[in-house]
């Protein structure tokens, strides 16, 4: 009886497919069968799929057939395909999605545990409101009505800008777009999402350097890299599946893997060279590397001549960063940086990867631009295997950013100028004046709103210092964890000062408990992305289409449905959903996609029609795992997920752009050049030099040199306007004649013609290394506000205080005080692999929560011994702004001497107090802990208001 199952053995295809991509694809089915000497399809084949899953439903009629649904993991931006097995509407299992070019079946702990989201043991189960300190279940209608009334009242008394719409990178593209549209119709720019505190400095810095702010290449393209340098990026914990691709390059190309980080991260453990730097000295570090490159003439001179402007100015700055000075500031020995520089110079193309470690600084935009400049100097941008590969954080933070769920722009980075509003008014099929009517004033309509990082001040700041009529009085957390934001102490006060606090989320989140409110809090259950469908943009700009895995659990509703309900209540549903079909309160997702296809010309979100995206998902297996290009099959020649820009309308079938600014391909086949975005000439302060590319252009371009972005007038000059169809021409003439710019041409005619002639619609210019409209035109090192290095302040002091995004913003006034005596240790923060973001979702997942049960602080053994702390003891971590948290001490060499590290996913404890009892019944996460950001301090980027969550000072004492 115990001898059983002879020959129950894996069928070939699975094994080979499972293993093919991790080697050089040698194991195909035949060889497998030969090697293992198995009969083709033994019991293995006999076992039908249903067989295995029958019991998984634990339900009657479980012999029902099992459907496979393809969704996309909702954690990080790699975009791993989640294959869900569904039976009788029950999500009974997960299978590896071997066909997906992004993850090849792989998952990290979070992806592998995705199914729990559908169990939803700790989910927020129904609309709930706080009534004198008690949670009370209410119906959706009650919720919408009560909340809506309060908002309308606030709008009447304080104006629309007193309600803050905090969106999410967890929304699908459609939901994100709809959300942006939503608060436009509400009449305020006070909306934002996590991108602000994630990669806003990247977008600003990078876009202002060469045109677009996104990851230039793709995870898969890293296979071609000859060198990899990671700065402030820890993929093993933040993007584990990406490591698969890095590993491939490392092993197959013997590509050196250089990791620059204050922490010896798990990634560093896999590195060939680890550079330990002092937190917040990125610019210095990069200039230190570049110093060696320029010193030895390792830069790509021809490339720079053709495609880069202003390198001479950079050279002047870099010259000051000789090894000694660099070591004085960063603590990295010159010899090592020389080695790094040589490695990068000798192994081209190399890719540069950065994440929060680089962006979350008061001078974050300087860092990101410095990185770009390094890559430009090496001539690595616009090349397969090179590029600035910026790993985004959330699953759809790229999409949500592209749709500008931000306080300073309209979808597609159109900005807030009158023209931009008019463009979108045309797309939305409403009049500009209608929109204007919604706003308090045209000035406010065109002025940047308060960024998420600053909403606290939006509530607490004295209103006469603010550039808007009144303080924020209502906050809507629509998929945002407050513990991912710094200054927790003040946030609590702010939350308590609000009139209304609405949380729309699958989980109660820390927003539900961290304050001591007695009422005026509404928790509305939203679905996860597994309970709805739509497109999502991975870090590499590819769009993937999610299928609905299961129906919404409990009383939760998809976000777009909730938006419709609110729109109806607030009285602009009809205009807002003019071109979007509604079936019982749920807007038709495909219609939303088609609507943004009509307007997102700037970044080429126009070609990705729902049909094309679904086609790609259905035929994942036809796409090459390195180039991402389909070989044959229905999507032949297209790149997986039509990475934007996917020019023109869907019918011109642009394949998408796998690598940005890569002139080795025709524009029509995904080639590009740098964007002409900053005019034709630099301002005279900067030598009024020509900014157009010099002798570099995409293959097959009929203009064999740089050129400005296309307008109707330009077409006429070139005599290409004849290629326009009649309706295209009539629309363009009707719009603003020759001035009509390709970005606002709703027919896409202008860009179609440009591309037809091998030209990039956005022009062909040089990348600019000097961003003259930024506080630091040339990226310069500035000490963090809370710096232990007072000796450097004379040279590298921070900015002067200023007014930004409607709010006074402090720099010098903080830096002038010396805290380094009482708070000697540098405090930095980061991610853990098991958790994500604020962690409310992952800490509610038993499979993950079991793996990380304690919030901890990493302290260098030496420091700990000096203070007298033992491993595993509880300690107080206190920062100059007088908030403190009680956490477990972990003694490790991982952090350097004088540095402490906090993971930021925990929440539910506040300054030593356990808040578990305050969660709604049955919705408290399995694991609670102090939120790192309770103690993280003030500090905002000079351009984007990115929060400074990577450098502060702290004092650690035994608890």
């Amino acid at each position: 009886m115990l001898r059983k199952k002879i020959g129950e053995v894996a069928k070939g295809p699975r094994l080979s497919s499972a293993l093919k991509e991790m080697t050089k694809g040698t194991v195909d089915r035949r060889t497998f069968l030969k090697k293992s000497g198995l009969a083709v399809g033994g019991i293995g084949a006999a076992a039908t799929l249903t067989g295995g899953r029958v019991q998984k439903a634990h339900a009657a009629g479980s012999d029902a057939k099992v459907e496979l649904k393809k969704s996309v993991c909702t954690n990080c931006s790699v975009g791993c395909t989640v294959m869900a097995e569904v039976q009788n509407g029950v999500w009974i299992g997960q299978e590896p999605g071997f066909d997906s070019p992004f993850n090849l079946g792989a998952h990290c702990a979070k992806g592998a545990a995705a199914r729990e989201a559908a169990h939803g043991d700790r989910r927020l189960k129904y609309p709930t409101k706080l009534v004198d300190g008690k949670w009370k279940r209410i119906s959706w209608d009650e919720a919408i009505n009560e909340v809506g009334d309060i908002m309308l009242d606030i709008k009447k008394t304080s104006g629309p800008d007193s309600v803050y719409w905090l969106g999410s990178a967890k929304h699908s593209n459609e939901q994100a777009y709809l959300f942006r549209k939503f608060y436009a119709f509400w009449g305020s720019n006070n909306g934002d999402h996590q991108a602000r505190i994630c990669h806003s400095t990247t977008v600003a810095g990078v876009a202002n350097t060469w045109g677009y702010g996104a990851m230039t290449n793709s995870y898969n393209d890293i296979h071609n890299s000859k060198a990899m340098i990671l700065i402030g990026s820890n993929p093993t914990e933040a993007h584990p599946v990406a490591m698969q691709h890095l590993m491939k390059a490392k092993e197959n190309n013997n590509a050196p893997l250089i990791v620059c980080d204050p922490r010896f991260t798990r990634t560093a453990a896999k590195a060939t060279e680890y550079v330990r730097m002092r937190p917040g000295t990125d610019v210095a570090l990069i200039w230190g590397i570049l110093w060696h490159i320029l010193e030895n003439g390792w830069e790509d001179k021809e490339y720079i001549r053709q495609r880069v402007w202003g390198m001479n100015y950079i050279a002047e700055e870099v010259a000051r960063w000789n090894p000694e000075e660099c070591e004085r500031v960063t603590g990295v020995p010159g010899s090592q940086l020389k080695r790094v520089a040589r490695t990068l110079a000798n192994n081209r193309p190399g890719t540069l990867i950065w994440c929060m470690g680089g962006t979350q600084h008061t001078n974050g935009n300087n860092n990101t631009r410095a990185y770009c400049i390094l890559q430009l100097a090496l001539g690595n941008i616009g090349k397969s295997g090179g590029g600035a590969n910026i790993f985004r954080g959330h699953d759809n933070v790229q999409g949500a950013t592209d749709f500008c769920v931000l306080s300073h722009s309209l979808p597609g980075y159109y900005g807030l100028k009158k023209g931009s509003w008019q463009h979108w008014a045309r797309v939305w099929d409403v009049s500009y004046d209608y929109l204007l009517g919604k706003f308090a004033s045209e000035k406010l309509m065109q002025s940047k709103g308060i960024p998420v990082s600053r909403w606290i001040d939006g509530v607490l700041e004295d209103k006469k210092n603010m550039d808007q009529p009144d303080n924020l009085r209502a906050m809507v957390f629509w998929g945002h964890a407050p513990n991912s934001q710094t200054r927790g102490g003040e946030m609590k006060t702010a939350m308590e000062k609000l009139d209304l606090l609405v949380v729309i989320d699958p989980y109660p989140t820390v927003s539900a408990v961290m304050h001591d409110r007695k009422d005026g809090v509404y928790l509305l259950p939203a679905t996860t992305q597994y309970e709805t469908y739509g497109s999502v943009t991975a870090s590499n700009r590819s769009l993937q289409w999610r299928e609905k895995v299961i129906e919404p659990v409990f009383e939760s509703l998809p976000d777009h449905t909730i938006m419709y309900k609110f729109a109806t209540k607030l009285g602009f549903a009809d205009e807002m959903f003019k071109n979007i079909a509604i079936n019982n309160d749920e807007p038709m997702v495909e219609d939303i996609t088609r609507e943004f296809n009509k307007g997102m010309w700037t970044i080429g979100y126009t070609g990705q029609s729902p049909e094309r995206l679904k086609l790609h998902m259905a035929n994942q297996h036809t796409f090459d795992k390195t180039t991402l290009q389909a070989k044959g099959g229905p999507a032949d020649g297209e790149y997986y997920g039509l990475p934007w820009p996917c020019w023109g309308t869907a019918d011109i079938k642009h394949p998408g752009t796998p690598n940005l600014y890569d002139p080795s391909k025709p524009v029509a086949e995904g080639g590009l050049c740098f964007r002409n975005r900053f005019g034709l000439k630099s301002p005279e302060k900067w030598g009024s030099e020509n900014l157009l590319a010099d002798g570099s252009y995409p293959v097959d371009s009929e203009i064999k040199d740089g050129y400005p972005e296309f307008t109707m007038g330009m077409l006429k000059k070139l005599g290409w306007d004849s290629d326009l169809t009649a309706d295209e021409r009539s629309f363009i003439e009707g719009l603003s004649g020759d001035k009509t710019n390709w970005k606002v041409d709703l027919t896409g005619g202008i860009q179609r013609v440009a591309i037809k002639h091998g030209c990039a619609p956005f022009g062909n210019a040089k990348a600019r290394t000097v961003v003259w409209n930024f506080p630091d035109p040339i990226p310069t090192h500035r000490e963090p506000l809370y710096t232990p290095r007072r000796d450097l302040l004379d040279k590298y002091a921070t900015y002067a205080d200023k007014q930004a995004y409607r709010l006074p913003t402090m720099y010098a006034s903080i830096q002038k005080n010396d805290y380094s005596k009482d708070y000697p240790i540098i405090l930095t923060s980061g991610r853990l692999v098991e958790y994500e973001g604020g962690g409310d979702e992952s800490r509610s997942n038993p499979w993950l929560a079991e793996l990380q049960q304690d919030m901890f602080v990493e302290i260098n053994t030496a420091d700990a011994n000096n203070i007298g702390i033992r491993d595993g003891e509880m300690v107080w971590v206190e920062t100059p702004e007088k908030s403190k948290i009680r956490v477990k001490a972990m003694l490790t060499e991982r952090v350097g001497k004088g540095v402490a590290f906090l993971p930021f996913h925990f929440g539910g404890h506040f300054q030593g107090k356990d808040l578990r009892s305050k969660y709604p019944e049955g919705a408290d996460p399995y694991v609670l802990g102090e939120a790192a950001n309770t103690v993280m301090t003030y500090g905002y980027d000079s351009v984007t208001q990115m929060q400074e969550s990577k450098v502060s000072l702290c004092k650690i004492t035994r608890a």
Binding site: K4, K5, V9, A10, T23, G37, Q94, A269, L851
Partner: protein, 198 residues
């Protein structure tokens, strides 16, 4: 007949724990039982290595040898399985196992460990394939479905390999050649003694 083996490539394992959660997900493993675990050596120091550990399904399995009720058995393709109906929860297999694979649902006072649970190579147990009983006691039987262990199939960096020993070792050998140095075919010596250098 294929000889099923696990191989964890220490050069690639990044301690992402996907093997652990995938396993829990697939077999509905309760909190506290970990059929697979990831161990990191010299954590936070140069030379840090992580390795995913579970039952290695040894050729000459110590657990089989010491079990006082002889509840273990090895399938035709080398997977070491056990019969929970026979298990008396004495803990001897845990004493003997080099890899700390056996897990017990209880704390163990007055010898109450409960019935041992361990990695089944996703091959279920003695009950009929796909029976509800089998799922309840041992989790899902992927092998009988013609699939491989979920932990290996979902490994984020393909560090954990599972399948026919020959293929697995070939793949690994290719990697080693690619790297120009060898490392971390972890636990093979211990687990597959006397099977030659497959």
């Amino acid at each position: 007949m294929a000889r099923m083996k696990f191989l964890c490539d220490a050069e690639r394992c990044i301690e992402c724990n996907s093997c652990v959660t995938a396993c829990k997900n697939e077999h509905e493993i309760p909190w506290g039982i970990n059929r697979r675990r990831v161990v990191t050596l010299s954590d936070g120091k140069p030379g840090e290595r992580s390795i995913s550990v579970a039952c290695m399904h040894c050729s000459d399995a110590p657990c089989m040898a010491v079990c006082p009720v002889d509840c273990f058995y090895q399938t035709a393709n080398g997977v070491v399985l056990h019969d929970k109906d026979l298990c008396i929860g004495c803990g001897y297999c845990f004493f003997a196992c080099p890899f700390g694979a056996p897990q017990y649902p209880q704390a163990g006072n007055f010898g109450s460990r409960g019935k041992m649970d361990k990695c089944t190579f996703c091959a279920g147990g003695p009950e009929d394939d796909h029976s509800a009983e089998e799922f309840k006691k041992y989790g899902r039987n992927r092998i009988a479905e013609g699939k491989l262990p979920i932990c290996a199939e979902m490994c984020s960096t393909k560090a954990l390999l599972a399948g026919d020993g020959n293929i697995v070792s070939n793949i690994y050998r290719e990697r080693v050649v690619g790297r120009g140095f060898g490392s971390g075919a972890w636990g093979w010596g211990r687990a597959y003694i006397g099977e030659g250098r497959t």
